[in-house]
């Protein structure tokens, strides 16, 4: 059987410029050939069945039980690419952590005041607060695209509630089970999310009783889009799932979980929600008072502002005295009249992003949009430029997904969300691989919220 590939993009993860398969995909390609379309179709059906059976969901609409679409053909990252990504992500996390510490500590002059003060996530009440071990950024997610030849470029930082680590794990697990043939002959770097997270919990928990710290996962409930992740983490970490009303702050300032068997003191809240005060009144103050560890803490959100993103390279230079290892997408500050004018004149080839957006919400990839949307976005950035940034559109890589009905490989745009954890000892762990998100055909927006699918991602040892 000869596997056809339809309409492959210019920068392919799968083949080089001359149409030759990249050597690190030889094993995967030969497994595809050997199994043949009938077996593949059955395996792909099985993978969908397992996704549904295991409740591997990503709800777009809470009324619809939507399973997460996956494609089992792996993305393989060569070791030398990973060395650069991993170092670059760790560097960026450290720089952002230092910036946030300076912002709420002695003050900073890297990011202009009009940017920081107009950012909703800048919380003056955190001024003067020092989190345990000066740890502001605990769990960090970073979105990258590959421009070919090992050139990875950062699109954005996620510091509020970065989600997706379990999508990465579950996709790997299903692919390993349904398509073991792909992995034959590959030596893939392992990682241990459970141990890393528990180590983080231990390192930031305030002094707990003789039995050690108690950790819970605070969720917005079973209809939230990423509830699968909350449940999976609860199982993985052995931390009870709680909703806002299950927690309260006692007279002693500590956080308690209400249970039928009595109230239990909680030392670590891994929160998967944004608005702490709405869900658990007083939780933030308990954190500021050092009575509970919050993961992610309060303060780092400011670097989630897509406008603050523009100054991260400067943070790396200033706080670490290093040059950035990874490049980031060239971006424009629309508060500046010149840049605003540039964005206005070159709108057709830019990406417009809401400063507060996440998960693909408020992202307009202008080259992929119709004229009507162009007019709307133009009006939007003319009347409210302070709410957006402009980014150059990058021609990033495509990978192939297997279409079992057409018995062919179809190219789609892919990005890479990499997760990193920093613990109280200052150690940064970057989990090898990450979540490869695949855009829908013809689109460059890869988020799960936008209906993309997930691919297993391997890093070669």
């Amino acid at each position: 059987m000869v596997m056809r590939t339809v309409g492959e993009g210019r920068l392919s993860e799968w083949r080089d410029d001359h149409g030759r398969l990249h050597p690190h995909y030889a094993g995967v390609a030969s497994a595809l050939e050997q199994l043949g379309p009938e077996v593949l179709a059955e395996r792909w059906r099985q993978s969908r069945r397992q996704v549904a059976r295991d409740g591997f969901t990503f709800y777009l609409d809470p009324r619809e039980y939507r399973t997460t679409p996956i494609d089992m053909l792996p993305r393989v990252i060569p070791a030398e690419h990973w060395a650069q990504i991993s170092a670059g992500v760790a560097q960026r996390l450290r720089a952002i952590n230092r910036f946030v510490g300076a912002l709420y500590g002695d003050g900073q002059d890297v990011v202009p005041n009009d940017v920081v003060y107009s950012c909703d996530y800048f919380l003056p009440e955190a001024e003067g607060f020092r989190p345990p071990s000066d740890l502001w950024v605990h769990i960090y997610g970073i979105d990258l695209v590959h421009l070919g030849d090992g050139r990875y470029v950062i699109l954005e930082d996620n510091l509020r509630v970065p989600s997706g680590i379990t999508y990465q794990m579950k996709t790997l697990e299903i692919a390993a089970r349904q398509m073991p043939e792909f992995a034959e002959g590959y030596n893939v770097l392992p990682y241990d999310v459970r141990e890393t997270y528990l180590e983080l919990f231990r390192s930031v928990a305030p002094d707990a009783g003789p039995d050690g710290p108690v950790a819970v996962i605070l969720t917005d409930g079973k209809f939230g889009s990423a509830f699968f992740e909350h449940r999976y983490l609860s199982d993985l970490l052995g931390a009870p799932l709680v909703e806002g009303p299950d927690l309260y702050v006692g007279h002693d300032g500590r956080v308690y979980a209400r249970t039928v068997d009595g109230d239990r003191a909680v030392d670590v809240v891994y929160r998967r929600i944004q608005d702490l005060e709405i869900f658990v009144p007083g939780l933030r103050d308990a954190y500021f008072a050092g009575k509970v560890a919050l993961i992610n803490g309060v303060g780092a959100e400011v670097a989630d502002d897509k406008l603050v993103f523009l100054w991260v390279p400067e943070m790396i230079r200033r706080y670490l005295g290093e040059e950035p290892i990874l490049e980031q997408a060239p971006s424009h500050n629309l508060l500046d009249a010149e840049e605003r004018r540039y964005a206005h004149e070159n709108l057709e080839r830019l990406v417009i992003k809401s400063r507060r957006g996440y998960g693909g919400i408020g992202v307009y990839v202008m080259p992929d949009l119709g004229e009507e949307t162009h007019a709307q976005v133009r009006a939007l950035i003319l009347s409210k430029p302070d709410e957006f940034i402009a980014q150059e559109t990058l021609d990033f890589s495509t990978h192939v997904v297997y279409d079992e009905e057409g018995e062919q490989l179809e190219p789609r745009y892919v990005d890479l969300r990499v997760f990193a954890v920093q613990d109280g000892e200052g150690r940064v762990s970057v989990f090898p691989g990450g979540l490869t998100r695949v855009a829908r055909a013809g689109s460059r927006v890869t988020n799960n919220s936008s209906g993309g699918l997930c691919k297993p991602t391997w890093v070669l040892a």
Partner: protein, 304 residues
Amino acid sequence: MQADMGPGLSEQAVVASYLYSARYEYSQAVLHNDNQVRVFPRDGEGQQALHYEIWTQPPSRVLPFSDRFGNQVNRVRAVEHHTQLVVATTGRVRLSTLAPYVEDVSIESLREVPESFEYTAATVLVDPLRLFELAGEVIGGATGLIEAARSVTDWVHGHIHYLRGTTDVTTTAHEVLAAGEGVCQDMAHLALAMMRAVGLPCRYASGLLTDQVGETHAWVEFFHPDAGWLAADPTRGRMLPPASDYVKLAVGLDYTDVRPISGTFLSKGAAAHLAAIAQVRFGEHESSMADALALLDDAHIVPR
């Protein structure tokens, strides 16, 4: 902060002091209240900012910055639980009493100015496309910039009946036209929409009328390639008034850019009531938080 005061300002200038005070009441405790305040003197166009102060009750951290229009903004964030928030500011400006004398230029000369690019834009409240025909008719054969601006200002003054209570802060320019009535903000929006429809770069100006107690006023500024921003007040039917008519506090594309206080609060309750009032006096006057609270006791006015 010495601004370009224009010729003759030092001889022909007055000092004015103002006090602005707003009070929000809530039906239940507010956990945090985060607002941007834009009630501070601007520099330029015949006005020189001398001084300002801001207080809030409960006290809050004040974060000063400039927005993209050069307006002075102070973000105030109160995190003490409260059921009432008072925001008060006081300021002093020096104002030219001379009406600008400017030669008219042709509308054509605006094509090249950078201001044409964003100050002719549509916004939610000001959509020039919908007023294209009317604006053309009103301006008629006018070829001069000031001449055109004057026709629009006079037309709005003559055709829109000043009436309180029938419009609110979300009323759009074309709704004002359809209703035929409104307040200063509505007239400014309609004038902006008509000027932008014929390609005049123009902006919304917000401030206080001098020597009176009351609410904030709104007028229009249009761009002149040689003289910069020039005022036109459709509510009062005045073209190129002297700077000393107003204390100018903020400019923007429409009202949403210049809202005196805008922000969010976190509470299970709602904002039950609010009052805002401003007082402007010529001369140097000191005001305190106590004065601001006393002024509020006389206020029955919901700010526009």
